[in-house]
Symmetry: C2
Subunit: 334 residues, 2 copies
């Protein structure tokens, strides 16, 4: 923007440089007008529209030294992509709000944007606009629009008799966070795997879309707050209860190497971004694994009731008072 | 969400109460599924879609004691509504991200939501979802979707020969902010008017829609960063320059009572949320005032050039080095 008298580029402040960087994010083919105007303009969407917002806050969800800037941008988008995956949708376009403290410079934000752009390209998402503001802590807040070619997976569709499945393994990201916080000492390949699951999670977009094509439409949710809480959301919205098999909770080799048979982080830890879903009986985990293209495990079943989770299996006693968890403690460093 | 053993409502932490409040925001008729799932689901939008995101951060854009919680919710939405107004659009639905520090309790957020809900109803906007996170400072980030029945007002449509107009008066919100910060002493009705312009701005939605129905389609922007900067954005995007008549900048009686003939805040202060627009010559301010339903003043014209603003008029000398303003200093208390 021209000053009075007009300023040269070298006179622009660091913050203006950052603001310019963010309006340089290039949109794609779904976009009529990208960053740089009051609003972005997207082409009409003739199917139901999915809309979600999520935020990553320094000191709450991450500490700056843990992440490369690129990984930070990538993970901020992944949390939103995972919400679209949990609905069985396809992401289309996003807007990004940066809250930027003085200890973050334009070079850092340039690298965050590079990671964001790469993750958006991989998911075929247009970054269509953004906003930059000052703050005391770095925060990246993304609102993502998507759509669905098919039915939409919802939390309120679980019925008594459904079987409960989960993709991948759970608890890895929570163990990774404990390692980063210095509360757990793990070495070698296990450490790298677990930390990477926290830093570089994957949204299960393809599995979500395939689930949305199945009939009857499964109930689903992504495991962002932890298996226990997220299953709880399904039970609450569907007005049912669940029987969970403690022996069947899928844990990675690295998880076992780090914490042995302790189920606390597998049940209570968040940010795995795996999908938990409920299907009418008749599907085996093996068939679902082939169908969805990711490992699937059966972990229990939906029963009549009002939200309670009954733990069964040999290791039922090994699960502590998970309900007492503080959601925030599970989700980040404070 | 159910705990293990299930927890009663009285055991829920303050943060969970806040999270529940935010999922209680009720959606409207455009919504297939509102808050409480991974994504909100909206009905298809068969016209071009407008998308914008904006954030209000404690200590940057406001201090908590200045606002009633209701006014805070209202203003957070207004900033986004104003972006839609600047495009000549009609707002449809929004998602809200709350970053909540420990000094803010659930009662406060309940009142913020009440203000937000009332402002949304007034603008016929559905609040379809949200997210709540901890943070050290209160921040409300809203992403808003809208659409347009008509052409879309853009920043890049100004042409040499266009006349530049602005709705309402400018600089009032900036003077109001100075009063709130204790940097300016003003009393009585002037004080109330100016502070209210900062606390309770109005988005010019109707004026924006009417502008979008005119041909050729005007260039437009909302004055959120200040007349000087926002005119600069139009010039930069349209690759033109401007002649601005210092004597014609519309200032309220209260503004004059507070700062006399000083134009600094009228030119450089933001958050008025008035519209600045550029029309082919032939329109008088009086006709536009009738057409748009708000007071309109002509403040200059677009000329050939590369972004420069030339000040004309008797008071041209009264304008200080506005280009040297720090954008952040104009926008809030730090």
């Amino acid at each position: 923007m021209p000053g009075f008298p007009p300023r040269s580029k070298t006179e622009l402040g660091e913050f203006e440089l950052i603001a310019r960087l963010c309006s340089d994010l290039r949109p794609g083919s779904r976009t009529i007008l990208g960053p740089g105007d009051d609003c972005a303009i997207l082409r009409p969407i003739k199917r139901p529209i999915l809309l979600t917002i999520d935020s990553m806050v320094e000191g709450v969800h991450f500490r700056v030294p843990w992440f490369s800037p690129e990984a930070l941008g990538r993970k901020a988008l992944t949390a939103n992509l995972s919400d679209i995956a949990a609905c069985g949708g396809r992401p289309l376009a996003c807007v990004v709000n940066f809250a930027i403290p003085r200890h973050i410079d334009s070079r850092f934000i340039q690298r965050v944007n590079a990671g964001l752009r790469r993750a958006a390209e991989a998911a075929q998402v247009d970054i269509v606009g953004g906003n930059v503001t000052r703050a005391d802590a770095l925060a990246i807040t993304i609102a993502l629009i998507g759509t669905s070619r098919d039915a939409i997976l919802r939390r309120d569709a679980a019925r008594a008799g459904d079987e409960i499945f989960v993709t991948g393994t759970v608890g890895d990201a929570a163990v990774g966070l404990q390692i980063l916080e210095g509360r757990l000492r793990v070495r070698g390949a296990s450490r790298r795997f677990l930390v990477d699951r926290f830093i570089n999670p994957t949204a299960r977009l393809q599995a979500g879309e395939r689930l949305a094509s199945m009939r009857p439409t499964p109930a689903a949710i992504d495991i962002s707050d932890g298996l226990w809480q997220d299953l709880g959301h399904i039970l609450e919205r569907s007005r049912v209860a669940a029987e969970l098999d403690a022996d069947a909770i899928p844990r990675s080799v690295a998880y076992r190497a780090a914490v042995g048979d302790d189920l606390e982080l597998a049940m209570g830890g968040g940010e795995d971004y795996e999908l938990l879903f409920c299907m009418r009986s008749g599907w085996t985990a093996a068939r679902l694994t082939r169908r969805l293209g990711v490992p699937v495990h059966r972990i229990g079943r939906i029963v009549r009731g009002a939200g309670a989770i009954r733990i069964i299996g040999r290791r039922a006693g090994a699960i502590p008072r998970i309900g007492g968890f503080d959601q925030l403690r599970n989700r980040g460093p404070r």
